[in-house]
Subunit: 109 residues, 2 copies
DNA sequence: TCCCTATTTCGACAATTGTCGAAATTCAGG
DNA sequence: CCTGAATTTCGACAATTGTCGAAATAGGGA
């Protein structure tokens, strides 16, 4: 993970529509969602969705799997974990930011 | 933390120049860096730096403190922690993404 | 083979972004 | 009050983005 990749992934998530897409995929769980289902839930033009989805796939944050004509999309957790790791590293490498009351896992102790 | 705030912060970090600015501030530690020092290290026009810095301050990722004519900039860790918490939450809320070999703390076990 | 459904590609468009240099502003010191 | 240094604001510019509808493509089933 380097600055260029990280910034590209952050940029991908930094658009409200794309973050919503990603969020929806996470909520959908391991089963994932077809592009059409995603479109129903989010309510944007299919072409727009396809455009955003391509960005998320290119950055590795989302994976796709064909089932006949249907494309199943899934959040790709390892990529997110690597990104979070990079951010945590950038944030905590030199400084002791133990003020983390926001982290889910409770890293302190 | 909601989707709108998160996406704005992610977008702020999603530009290579701004991520580099943030990274430099983190590396500078709690003492922070004046805008001029930042400019020397990064090598962009002062106006461009000011523009990016404003974005980072607006989103709460960076704080500034005046010392006479000098503006000291610092990475604001709580904001980053909240953002990481949001991402981790979005990623892990419903799914068991224990594949985290990238997280700094080692959440598994 | 022909059709139907799911998805992508193709223009097109307004809006935003990233960058710069020049000018304006702010603030302390003499 | 004037000077000098630090930073921001002001245009300006090309480049990218986000969005849409229409047309093209892909892939299976009758």
């Amino acid at each position: 993970m380097n600055l260029e990749i990280a910034s590209r992934q952050l940029e991908a998530l930094g658009n409200p529509t794309r973050l919503q897409i990603y969020r929806t995929l996470v909520r959908a769980g391991p089963a994932g969602l077809p592009v059409g289902g995603l479109q129903e839930r989010i309510g944007i033009a299919a072409s727009t969705l396809s455009h955003h989805l391509k960005r998320l796939v290119e950055t590795g944050l989302v994976t796709q799997e064909r089932h006949a004509t249907t494309l199943i999309c899934r959040a790709h957790y390892p990529a997110m974990n690597a990104l979070i790791g990079y951010l945590a590293d950038e944030c905590c490498a030199d400084a002791g930011c133990v003020t983390a009351d926001a982290a889910a896992g409770g890293v302190s102790t």
